[in-house]
């Protein structure tokens, strides 16, 4: 077991961890971050996508022991983030989910897409969603939902600086 100290959803945590524990398993167990869903454990499906140090990342292929000093946000901690709030509404209205298993990863990736690209054309949007697999929706509702949210966030950017880099749009 090795000691680590990191911040999860705004709260600092000091604990020990078996070095082989992935960040995904660590967060699910230690922080009740059950929004993290494991679909492959090799970094392809995107179901485990979270934010590490301001950037989206796969938690299934990060090791908890390597996260000393890191700032981690999961969907649980982003509940009141303006982009996530809008995306939840958009996914609901546009039927962007069916079974819900891919949804947390989709929301976090969608937030990053909007922060990076604003309201991209559909081809760019679909390519940017390539790292998140959905088996239920055929992506139709998801694409509509992200477009729906992008338009509304463009009109009413979050109350931070409105800059496009994710660091400025960090979840609060």
């Amino acid at each position: 077991m090795q000691a680590i100290e990191l911040t999860i959803n705004g709260e600092s945590l000091k604990t020990t961890v078996d070095p082989r524990t992935t960040l995904a398993d660590f967060l699910r167990e230690q922080a009740d971050a059950r929004s993290i869903h494991l679909g492959c454990e090799h970094g392809v499906c995107g179901g485990c996508t979270i934010v590490i140090n301001g950037k989206i990342a796969r938690s299934c292929i990060a090791l908890a022991v390597a996260m000393g000093g890191a700032e981690i946000w999961t969907l649980e901690g982003m509940r009141d983030d303006p982009a996530i709030v809008q995306l939840r509404d958009s996914f609901h209205r546009c039927h962007g989910l069916q079974c819900g298993y891919c949804t947390p990863g989709m929301l976090i990736t969608a937030r990053d897409i909007i922060a990076r690209y604003g309201n991209p054309e559909e081809r760019i949007l679909r390519e940017a969603l390539a790292g998140n697999i959905c088996r239920c929706t055929g992506y139709a509702g998801i694409v509509k939902a992200v477009q729906h949210a992008a338009v509304r966030l463009e009109q009413h950017p979050n109350d931070a600086s409105g800059a496009t880099s994710l660091e400025a749009v960090s979840p609060r």
Partner: protein, 791 residues
């Protein structure tokens, strides 16, 4: 979009209301099987066979781990999974919960290993030493009768589960009269099913209730309970099966799994909570597989393209064991039964062989045998059209069963209820605009791109009843549903149903049915499902049955409840029951500005203030109802798909430029949800057509064990799509609803393959195999070049 029906109200049948189930899923806070745990729980890793076919000589547990590694004999009284088809000549394959004498596919479970963490359990599994005496592996269905390969199961003389035949009409006469006879081979390769969440089981003993509790990511908890009770020799009341939130299934969670039996038996023995979460490698290699069909089809037609007769030879690779409850031959039975498709073919002769092999067993997957049958018949129709130089829709039109011919008893032995296939085909031809093809070909002339257009019409038998299941020869028959409804004292409605919602939106659509009968706001309706302790007995969600069957049960139950509510309401309003109606959460007098009383007030009277009830009306407001369709032959959805593609000869990649669907699923409860099911099915159909394959090598090793090798479509692989809804209400279901969850996945392999062949025809190249990988397309182009060079 034809969304409304005479029955519709703002939130009832026909409305695209938003889903009740979204909030918890959008918060990421629901509980899937990996979120369910118990104090003192051990994590399970299965030791799975690394070889495809072998005798087990010995199993050596690691030192000091005897109480954490368990074999079949350690599980106590356990019966194997026995899925016997009633069909004559079927050969039995008993499927043990853990392999004991023999392993029959790579990934077959041999031992359960326990650890405090899954990692530790895997460490333990790696230390178990198994000595195998390897046998030749049947790795291709062409080997199933080859004496060089030993029978996989005891008492078998070769590796064939079953052979069936159909011979109706007079095929020989058709052959003699035909102006054209064409024979082609078509092939769909094996694939995995890939729900995003894998399977999983958690078991524990609830000593308060005396139940062995089995949480399983399953589609049909009651049926699993019945099966487990049988395999473990327990009473049904001693078992509780719960499906938590389920992350997609599409059929892979619709079988009795050896893992379910093994964990339940072990918890019963060691009295510890246990949990197994299937990982992706297990899912790809060792969960039930799908789609592996081969067809040789001969069509006899006149010079107008009217089919006079059809012959077929069908082979299905059903893997190492017969899955329960479907049985190994169900897939080939559906293939042979559905091959005539929507066409009025009366002379039909076919043979279907269900082969056994040393591969993971084949189980149902969205569409089941129909994607293969549709592939074979729809390719045949377009080859026929091309051969005769006729328009493919025109040829179909000359062969479709006509609206005045229903009910139609097909040559495959099915009874089609109602349909207008031509309307769907004509609609789709209008939407795809075939006149564009010439202009597009000109635009891309001289480039690497060949443009093609292809169609495919499908039939989807849904919500079939008892007699149909009996005909299929399954060990259990389905064919009805139940629903339990209860009002709460504060005016909400709780619906307990044994179906299992895993993305279909049934927590919303069943509430819409309740709204239709009771006028209650769907937001005040809670649908609980997946728990054998809450819901009355029922069959679960599969075969596109839930909206019809469960919707029917909820409708019947709601109607019964409505009668009582109206009586109480009329009494409270002091008018005759003939003078009131249910609307928007109230019982209201049938006059403008009439008095009304809310459902909440009625519930208070029924539960808390029974002195307010009329004479002859008992307290309480709950009802259990069961429902069957008025005929058992199924409610037949159907539709036509069209694909416009550009085949890149330089890369072998296929780009879908436009995709259109015109389908008929009768009365639509929620158009938004129907569109979602269609798009999801289309994505999986595209997966089958272009991307998904589980190849096995000569030693029976599955070759695609991660998402690096096994590709599923992402957002960029989906085409722009237009869907049009036609609607001929079913004559045999309540509200005229038909199921539709699978149709989206049935046609795409056929429509896309037809389009690719249409594109490459002028080069003399053809592809008749899915997935149409770049390699297969390039090889087809090479073969065509070589053919020309040699000519």
């Amino acid at each position: 979009m034809n969304a409304t029906t005479p029955l519709s109200s703002k939130k009832g049948i026909g409305s695209s209301i938003l889903r009740n189930e979204d909030e918890r899923l959008l918060a990421g806070r629901s509980s899937f099987i990996a979120d369910i745990s118990q104090p003192g729980m051990w994590e399970v890793a299965f030791l799975r066979s690394p070889v495809a076919h072998a005798h087990i000589i010995s199993v050596q547990k690691p030192q000091g781990a005897q109480n954490r590694v368990f074999l079949l004999d350690d599980l106590g009284e356990v019966l194997p999974i026995r899925a016997d088809s009633q069909a004559k000549g079927f050969r039995r394959s008993d499927y043990p919960a853990l392999a004991q004498d023999k392993v029959r596919f790579v990934g077959e479970p041999i031992a359960i290993c326990l650890g405090c963490t899954r990692a530790e359990a895997e460490d333990l599994a790696a230390q178990v030493v198994v000595e195998f005496d390897e046998l030749p592996a049947v790795s291709d269905l062409s080997q199933c009768r080859d004496p060089a390969y030993p029978p996989i199961h005891p008492g078998w003389t070769d590796n064939l589960f079953l052979e069936t035949h159909i011979d109706v009409g007079d095929v020989e006469a058709a052959r003699a009269k035909a102006a054209v006879t064409l024979t082609h081979e078509y092939r769909m390769n094996r694939q995995a099913i890939v729900s995003l969440e894998g399977r999983g089981v958690m078991t524990y003993l609830d000593e308060r209730t005396g139940e062995l509790v089995v949480y399983s990511s399953t589609q049909f908890p009651h049926v699993i309970r019945t099966a487990l009770a049988h395999c473990l020799n327990m009473k049904e009341r001693e078992l509780r099966v719960v499906a938590p939130e389920v992350g997609g299934s599409f059929g892979v969670k619709n079988n009795l799994n050896p893992e379910e039996i093994a964990l339940a038996a072990l918890t019963r023995r060691v009295r510890k909570p246990l949990r197994w979460i299937e990982d992706r490698r297990e899912h790809l290699t060792a969960s039930p597989h799908a789609r592996e069909h081969r067809y040789q089809v001969t069509v006899h037609a006149d010079s107008n393209g009217v089919v006079l007769g059809l012959e077929a030879s069908i082979d299905v690779d059903a893997g190492a064991y017969s899955v329960w409850p479907w049985t190994a031959p169900m897939e080939s039975g559906m293939a042979i039964g559905f091959l005539p498709g929507p066409y009025a073919i009366t002379n039909y002769r076919a043979t279907a062989r269900t082969c056994a092999s040393n591969k993971s067993p084949m189980g149902p997957y969205r569409g089941v045998g129909r994607p293969g049958a549709c592939f074979a018949i729809e390719r045949t129709m377009e080859e026929l059209a091309a051969h005769l130089g006729l328009d493919p829709i025109e040829v179909r039109a000359r062969n479709y069963v006509r609206p005045d011919q229903f009910p139609w008893k097909s040559a495959g032995g099915k009874t089609y209820d109602i349909g207008d296939y031509q309307a769907s085909a004509v609609a789709v031809r209008r939407m795809i605009r075939p006149e564009r093809v010439a202009a597009l070909r000109e635009r891309y002339a001289g480039t690497d791109y060949e443009i093609g257009l292809g169609y495919a019409t499908y039939l989807e038998q849904t919500a079939h009843g008892t007699a149909e299941w009996v005909q299929r020869g399954l060990p259990v028959v389905f064919g009805y549903e139940q629903a339990a409804l209860q009002m709460t004292p504060d005016g909400m409605l709780i619906i307990d149903v044994p179906i299992q919602n895993h993305g279909q939106g049934l927590e919303t659509t069943l509430a819409q049915v309740a709204n239709e009968e009771l006028g209650i706001d769907p937001a005040h309706v809670v649908v609980r499902h997946g728990d054998t302790s809450l819901a009355p007995y029922g069959m679960g969600t599969f075969a596109s049955r839930s909206m019809v069957m469960s919707g029917g049960a909820v409708g019947c139950a709601s109607a019964l409840l409505a009668k009582k509510i109206l009586k109480i309401g009329a009494h409270l309003l002091q008018v005759s029951v003939d003078d009131v109606r249910l609307e928007d959460g109230f019982v209201a007098v049938n006059a403008p500005g009439g008095a009304k009383v809310s459902l909440t007030e009625i519930a208070v009277a029924a539960f808390l203030r029974p002195e307010r009830l009329p004479d002859g009306v008992d307290p309480g407001l709950s009802v259990v109802a069961s429902y069957r369709t008025s005929k058992d032959s199924g409610a037949w959805s159907y539709g036509t798909h069209a694909a416009l593609v550009a085949v890149d000869k330089g890369t072998g990649l296929v780009k879908i430029l436009d995709y259109v669907i015109a389908h008929d699923c009768g009365t639509i409860v929620n158009p938004m949800i129907v569109d979602g099911q269609m798009m999801g099915g289309l994505a999986q159909g595209i997966g089958t057509a272009l991307y998904e394959e589980m190849p096995y090598n000569f030693d029976g090793q599955p070759l695609a064990s991660t998402f690096m090798d096994y590709l599923v479509p992402g957002a960029s692989e989906m085409p722009q799509t237009t869907i049009e809804h036609l609607s001929l209400p079913s004559p045999i279901t309540r509200y005229g609803i038909k199921g539709m969850g699978e149709g989206g996945a049935i046609s795409p392999p056929a429509s896309i393959c037809n389009a690719v062949n249409n594109a490459l025809r002028r080069l003399g190249a053809s592809v008749n195999e899915t997935p149409m990988t770049p390699e297969r397309i390039i090889r087809a182009l090479m073969d065509a070049d070589a053919g020309k060079a040699g000519a």
